[in-house]
């Protein structure tokens, strides 16, 4: 008797894309809760938010924005080339994307470390003695950029898997929806940063 029936789905790339968009929607709502908290606390403590924002390094912030935006371009190029079956070029641009993601995380690490050295981290002695608005600003700063960095990290892992799949020719010019979906995820992470950057670095 046949016990395990393996169902041979006709690859439904339309469905896969649909599912991915739904997933991105949930990601936006996940960050949405944080943006809600941000807007409430900023309206309550506008001045403190502005003064705390001055302490963040605009250089690092801008640099990271450029890095992440460029990585979105290379991501799109990687998908562009796989569509025409140019495996090598697609892999090259995917590697560039991954490297830029890593560069972003390194910058973020340096930035956080600098803050820690100045005694600014959640619950620190330095921070507790400051105004409540500044405590909340940094609470949100570490939470939101931390959660974002976590998403970048997850994105890098996903892209590494995609790299292997392209190498193994599991992703080809005929069937590249996995890479396309990974690209969508990467762009989402990028877009969230585009909102985080002005809200934390440029409000003063």
């Amino acid at each position: 008797m046949k016990t395990e029936f393996s169902i041979t789905h006709h690859a439904d790339s339309e469905g896969a894309r649909f599912g991915m968009w739904l997933f991105l929607f949930t990601e936006i709502l996940l960050f949405g809760g944080l943006f809600l908290l941000y807007s409430v606390y900023r309206s309550e403590h506008a001045l403190n938010f502005h003064s705390a924002s001055l302490e963040l390094s605009r250089f690092f912030g801008t640099f990271n924005t450029v890095v992440l935006l460029t990585s979105s371009l290379t991501m799109a190029l990687s998908i562009h080339f796989i569509r025409y079956g140019e495996q090598k070029k697609s892999m090259l641009f995917l590697i560039l994307t991954i490297l830029m993601g890593a560069l972003f995380l390194i910058n973020k690490y340096l930035e956080w470390s600098a803050k820690f050295e100045h005694g600014i981290y959640p619950g620190s002695h330095e921070l507790v003695n400051r105004s409540r608005g500044e405590v909340l600003f940094y609470g949100l700063y570490f939470t939101m950029t931390g959660l974002h960095a976590f998403h970048v990290f997850a994105g890098i892992l996903v892209l590494l898997v995609m790299l292997v799949l392209i190498k193994k020719q599991a992703i080809t010019g005929d069937d590249y929806v996995k890479l396309e979906n990974s690209g969508l995820y990467w762009h989402l992470v990028d877009i969230i940063w585009i909102f985080l950057f002005p809200l934390f670095y440029l409000i003063s």
Binding site: L22, H45, P122, L136, L147
Partner: protein, 537 residues
């Protein structure tokens, strides 16, 4: 096909390379996953019910009866967490939805079978962590299932792990919703337009959207509670400028829509059972379909009514109160359409229909008392009393619970290929129904008289009603035991079920009971609406 008699479900056999257990927990077959969920949630139901029974025994008389006040706090928290997060939220969609949805739309599986298995694993890991949280760290959580800040940030009990468990379960719920939405959009059989889908599918569709738009919000809220406890980020901590009321807002932005995650699939089940046993096509098909979407939409905007006494502006409270009343409209549309379907039908009173009818009765009581909660003036009086507990159990147990047992009796022959004893099923229903009302109706009266919820002790004036309520819990328990005894007995010795034991009209009744692994030998072409009986009359 209709001559086919039941055989042993293929899922009891397994390939040689896998053991029996592995053939279940690694299967991507929607039917097996549905059954895995069903067994899991019924297990959690029994666990939650046991705690509930112990709580009722504690409350049988004033003062200490069997447990200390601290234990009682942990018990009502656990009862809530288990029943809400592990039983009733995954409940009907994850179990019957998984099993029946692809059958009803003429598909071989859901859109993402592996994701489906992953969501069961996330659910089970969440459940395991919830159990682990009882015995590690500071012991069982004592915050109530709502995890309100700032207490949840300060208590020494093991909130961090329990909250992480709830996070995993929420993630699992999102993946199920995402999977169902894609399935419904992409995998309907030829000819099955949106307005030819069975109403259970419509209900799952609306539910999927709520799972998607509401669950991420509780996800981030729970993450914040964890971060707050681990690092003290301050967003919910008044000592650092945070606002605990914002926790309540974020919590209820999810948790109110979550009650529609629970009730909409239940209403979907009722919309299946009633036309089957009234032997009529459903009355107001489109109205019922749209009312599901309307409930999903309006239900997203009413969370503030949980916070009428928490501190909000009067404007906000009036708007929330108005929107709350608005939810009653699509709910009423459903009830009237169900009753109209029964009108002049050839009603065949079988046990699934008894559950459906009692659903309408109990849910109407739950819904109408909901209006008492929704009205600002009366809510201030009854807020946080037994009245709310009564209302909640009438909608959630009288509603969702009865629908779930109805679905269990309705689809049991399809899932297992066996028939159960109908007379015993009816007797069990009677115990459940009588016990339910004896248990929960006195709560309305006690709440109205001022008995607060979650209290360990009470003045002597409430003694007789509390006593009555506890007796009710025993009658209800008898009913539950009878249900399980009947069904387990049917599994072991029941007669084989034909393909269509109830004379149902939807696609799952056109294939053998139990279905084969590939569901349909040939994918059907749909020509009629789901409840069309044109050629049988």
């Amino acid at each position: 096909m209709s001559t086919h008699t039941g055989t042993i479900p293929y899922y009891f056999n397994h390939a040689k390379e896998r053991s029996f257990i592995m053939s279940w927990v690694l299967s991507t077959d929607h039917k097996r996953i549905g059954i895995l969920y069903l067994v899991s949630i019924l297990t959690f139901f029994i666990a939650g019910m046991t705690i509930g029974l112990l709580m009722r025994i504690e409350l049988i008389a004033p003062g200490r009866t069997i447990v200390s006040a601290t234990t009682y706090n942990a018990m009502f928290t656990l009862h809530g967490v288990i029943m809400i997060f592990l039983f009733i939220i995954p409940g009907i969609p994850a179990s019957f939805g998984n099993f029946v949805l692809p059958l009803q739309i003429g598909a071989r599986d859901v859109a993402f079978p592996r994701l489906n298995l992953l969501s069961w694993w996330l659910f089970i890991m969440g459940a395991i962590l919830a159990v682990v949280s009882l015995f590690t760290g500071g012991g069982p959580i004592d915050t109530g299932w709502t995890f309100y800040a700032p207490y949840s940030i300060r208590t020494t009990s093991n909130v961090t792990l329990a909250v992480f468990a709830a996070f995993l379960v929420g993630f699992s719920s999102i993946l199920t919703g995402l999977n169902f939405l894609t399935t419904i959009h992409r995998l309907r059989a030829e000819g099955m337009k949106f307005f030819k889908m069975p109403l259970f599918v419509w209900a799952l569709y609306a539910t999927g959207w709520i799972q998607l738009i509401a669950t991420p919000v509780i996800g981030i809220t729970l993450v914040l509670v964890m971060l707050e406890r681990l690092f003290g980020i301050g967003v919910f901590d008044p000592a650092k400028g945070g606002d605990p009321i914002l926790f309540q807002h974020l919590f209820w932005i999810y948790s109110h829509p979550a009650v529609y995650i629970m009730i909409l699939p239940a209403m979907g089940v009722i919309s299946e059972i009633i036309p089957t046993f009234a032997r009529r096509t459903i009355f107001g098909y489109r109205a019922i379909a749209f009312s599901s979407l309307a409930i999903a939409f309006v239900g997203y905007l009413v969370w503030g009514h949980h916070m009428n006494t928490s501190g909000m502006s009067d404007t906000a409270r009036i708007i929330f109160s108005f929107l709350t009343f608005l939810v009653a409209v699509p709910s009423g549309v459903k009830v009237f359409n169900w009753l109209a379907t029964l009108y002049k039908g050839s009603i065949d009173i079988k046990s699934p229909l008894l559950y459906a009818l009692s659903f309408i009765f109990l849910f109407s009581i739950g819904g109408l008392t909901g209006l008492v909660n929704g009205a600002l003036a009366s809510d201030v009086h009854i807020h946080d009393t037994y009245f709310v507990v009564g209302h909640f159990h009438y909608t959630m147990f009288g509603g969702v619970g009865f629908a779930l047992f109805g679905a269990l009796h309705y689809w049991f022959p399809k899932i297992t290929g066996k028939l159960y004893n109908e007379l015993l099923a009816k007797i069990a229903w009677l115990f459940l129904f009588a016990g339910f009302n004896t248990l929960y109706f006195p709560m309305f009266i006690m709440g109205f008289q001022g008995m607060p919820r979650r209290y360990y002790d009470y003045p002597a004036q409430f003694h007789s009603l509390q006593f009555l309520s506890t007796v009710g819990s025993w009658i209800l328990f008898t009913g539950v035991v009878l249900i399980f005894a009947n069904l387990i007995n049917a599994l072991r010795k029941g007669a084989s079920s034909p393909a269509n034991p109830w004379n149902g009209t939807t696609l799952e009744w056109t294939i053998p009971s139990p279905p084969s692994a590939e569901n349909f030998e040939i994918i059907p072409v749909v020509k009629h609406g789901p409840y069309y009986r044109g050629d049988t009359k």
